[in-house]
């Protein structure tokens, strides 16, 4: 902890740049896109990149660049709330399990195992049947999928903190477990949580694309990377750019967030920091 708490590494830099690009693109799409993304221009359908717009046009003559930009926003708009919701609930459960242990811990962890057994796509179909398939179902499904992930991670690191001497001292003088959790445990595990949020975001973007591909996520005509891929399928031989563009967008976003997560772990994780000291 000499100059900065962050130590820069390649993964962090590359990941940071890619993620920043994703976020900037998404935000930019709110105020500006090269074309109106939903505008149909049949005369310009299936144009190759640079023939009409930077990345060409799709089967309705819509501008692929604009679709990708708005798609980035839609992707984040589902992934962010979903991961944050899952993280909030999961962290609360994990902290509680670590603080009270015993039977509460057992119940929380076994319940997590049960939820963990359902893939996000399956939960999305079930939730879709309950609340109607669409963006809300996608958010809830991804959130539910994230709860056990955060519960486990939180419990694991929190348990380590609870074994520390000063926590034992705090307990000895009668400090309430909730107070200990909020004032001592959470700040200490924040780094691990941030790393986990980043990695789960990558997974959430991938899941959202998968759900939209299956028609369970963002509703048409609102653009989504997943649906762009599914629309592109039958045009693969005529207009391969329709599949390549969203494919690369998804790959770069997921790669960026994963690298950022790895980079942050290397930079923030106290255990690694001690070793390299």
């Amino acid at each position: 902890m000499k100059r900065s708490s962050l130590r820069w590494n390649t993964a962090l830099i590359v990941g940071g740049i890619l993620t920043a690009l994703l976020i900037v693109t998404a935000l930019l799409s709110l105020v500006w896109t090269p074309e109106v993304p939903t505008r149909v221009r049949i005369a310009l359908r299936l144009k190759a990149p640079l023939e009409a717009g930077l990345l060409g046009t799709d089967h309705f003559g819509r501008d692929v660049t604009s679709l990708l930009m708005v798609g980035a926003w839609n992707s984040l708009a589902i992934a962010w709330p979903a991961v944050l919701l899952g993280a909030a609930i999961g962290t609360a459960i994990g902290c509680a399990a670590a603080a009270w242990k015993g039977i509460a811990d057992e119940i929380a962890m076994r319940a997590s195992d049960v939820i963990f057994a359902f893939p996000a796509v399956l939960s999305a179909i079930m939730i879709g049947a309950l609340v109607g398939s669409g963006p809300l179902a996608a958010v809830l499904a991804i959130a539910v999928f994230n709860i056990p992930v955060f519960a486990r991670v939180t419990r694991g690191v929190a348990l380590q903190i609870w074994t520390l001497d000063y926590i034992a001292a705090a307990r000895a003088i009668g400090k309430h477990p909730l107070k200990i959790t909020l004032e001592d445990v959470l700040p200490n595990i924040a780094g691990s949580l941030i790393v986990q949020v980043t990695i789960q975001l990558a997974l959430a973007i991938l899941t959202e694309a998968g759900l939209s591909y299956l028609g369970l996520g963002v509703r048409p005509p609102n653009p989504s990377w997943g649906r762009m891929l599914s629309d592109a399928q039958t045009y693969l031989s005529q207009a391969p750019h329709l599949a390549i563009a969203p494919g690369i967008a998804i790959a770069l976003s997921v790669l960026g967030l994963n690298l950022l997560g790895d980079g942050l772990r290397d930079a923030l994780d106290p255990t690694l920091r001690g070793r390299e000291g």
Partner: protein, 493 residues
């Protein structure tokens, strides 16, 4: 070395042997699985596409050119007043369960179809019937209450096939008819298998030993199945953009045929704002049908302005009645009180033509200030339940595949909720008109009423994009009636 050569030669001869004898099995691909196998109790086209002319037969049939031909009735007389039809039946016809076919079966089948409790989808076929008499086992005399211009033609439909009293109840799951193929098995979600009926009354009519109908909804999977040879023919390929590739491939025959299917976006005419003709016309004005055909069906398909097949001699091109004119659309919407915008929903079945058209319609309507939200639904089960029966919808989109079905707009309680007494009276009048020229003129009038009143958004005529193995012969290129008649199908080597 010589041993190896011998082994190779053996292997070669083994692999070539089956190709020498002509193939006698056929696998037909279909996009939608039928909900049952009895065409006399339910509407879905998929039922007819498996059963009509293959499993079941009627007194007459429609041939590949849309003409009426004798089938179970070898001949008939019509009295000069057009009220008495005397059918002479084919002797020696047996149902698949071995029981003989006679005039009593015809009477039973028609009485069952026109009974008040019947769920027959085309009751108008039987509505003019007064009495059915069976003077002897091979004669049926049908007396009509009033002349019916399309009576014989209608009797060729799947809804009027002859079923036996002993087996009719179970035809939904275990169909028994008089056709050239017998039902073998049905693996739900996958396929229906038929085998040759050895006792068929037209000896040696069919060359195939077995026919399998496989249900593949995903267009990409349809293409893969064709390429891999898992499916020999897809009479209605789901993805027009993939059709072009087959045109270039010598292993396949790719044929653009016509169908009787009009793709329309039906509106709930009883519901606000669709009860206002200005709104309906405004929506129609907002739609560029040429662009729609291009975008949704790669340019195959003919724009329509009314609800009538362009293949029919009485067809009138009415696409100019409510043409593409966004400015007019906006003006009409403003006049109807929706100048500030309108928000509606469309329930869209999973078929590619429907979801693509819906997305395009939504984009075109957005240009005139109408926000149309897309709600996916599933065809047929969920769509029938929500839209067709419960009428819980604003707008929907589906192809109406039956020929000469303009009368659906005259039906009470049909899903459009459309009520127009003038049109209803005209349709009733047409049914009674036996003079062809007069009838066609009246059909023209009926088309004009609909084109002006726009009870549904008339979009385009669905083409039949058929792809099949180049060695396969005898499949229908056009679809004058929804069917996959494989009676004449055979392999060329």
């Amino acid at each position: 070395m010589s041993k190896r050569f011998l082994a190779a030669a053996l292997l070669f001869s083994v692999s070539i042997a089956p190709a020498l004898a002509a193939k006698t099995s056929l696998v037909i691909g279909m996009p939608i699985e039928p909900p049952g196998l009895d065409p006399t109790i339910a509407a879905p086209v998929a039922i007819r596409e498996v059963t009509w002319a293959n499993l079941y037969e009627g007194l007459v049939r429609i041939d590949r050119d849309g003409r009426v031909q004798p089938l179970l009735a070898k001949s008939w007389d019509i009295s000069p007043d057009g009220l008495t039809y005397t059918f002479r039946l084919q002797p020696g016809v047996k149902f698949h369960d071995g029981t003989a076919f006679d005039s009593a079966d015809v009477k039973f089948a028609f009485d069952r179809a026109r009974a008040p409790t019947s769920t027959n989808a085309q009751k108008q076929i039987f509505a003019p019937i007064d009495t059915i008499e069976t003077p002897d086992p091979l004669t049926v005399v049908i007396k009509l209450k009033e002349p019916s211009g399309n009576f014989l033609y209608y009797l060729g439909w799947g809804d009027a096939v002859v079923v036996a009293p002993e087996t009719a109840e179970n035809n939904k799951a275990n169909p028994v008819g008089t056709g050239p193929f017998k039902f073998k098995s049905w693996t739900r979600g996958d396929k229906v298998e038929l085998v040759r009926n050895a006792d068929y009354w037209q000896k040696d009519k069919t060359k195939l030993e077995s026919v399998t109908f496989r249900f593949i909804s995903d267009p990409q999977a349809q293409v893969a199945a064709l390429r891999a040879g898992d499916v020999d023919a897809f009479p209605n390929l789901g993805a027009p953009e993939l059709f072009t590739e087959f045109k270039k491939d010598a292993r396949f025959k790719a044929v653009v045929g016509n169908t009787e299917g009009e793709i329309v976006a039906g509106m709930n005419n009883a519901k606000k704002p669709f009860d206002d003709v200005r709104v309906r016309r405004a929506l129609m004005h907002a739609i560029d049908r040429m662009a729609l055909v291009e975008g949704a069906y790669s340019g195959y398909g003919q724009p329509i302005g009314g609800f009538f097949s362009p293949n029919h001699p009485a067809f009138v091109d009415l696409t100019r009645v409510v043409p593409y004119d966004p400015a007019k659309a906006k003006a009409l919407l403003a006049e109807a009180g929706y100048g500030k915008g309108l928000s509606i929903t469309i329930k869209v079945p999973q078929m590619a033509y429907a979801s693509r058209s819906a997305e395009l319609l939504s984009a075109m309507l957005a240009e005139v200030g109408v926000e149309m939200k897309i709600i996916p639904t599933e065809f047929p089960a969920k769509w029938i339940e929500e839209v067709f029966k419960a009428k819980d919808y604003d707008v929907t989109i589906v192809a109406h595949a039956e020929p000469l079905d303009i009368d659906i707009f005259a039906r009470d309680n049909y899903y459009f909720n459309y009520k127009n007494d003038k049109f209803k009276a005209l349709i009733a009048d047409i049914a009674k008109t036996t003079d062809e020229k007069m009838r066609f003129a009246k059909y023209g009038e009926a088309q004009k009423i609909l084109a002006e009143d726009v009870p549904a958004l008339f979009l385009f005529q669905l083409p039949k994009l058929g792809v099949w193995n180049a060695k396969l012969k005898g499949l229908w290129e056009n679809s004058p009636i929804p069917s996959n008649d494989v009676t004449d199908a055979s392999w060329s080597d």
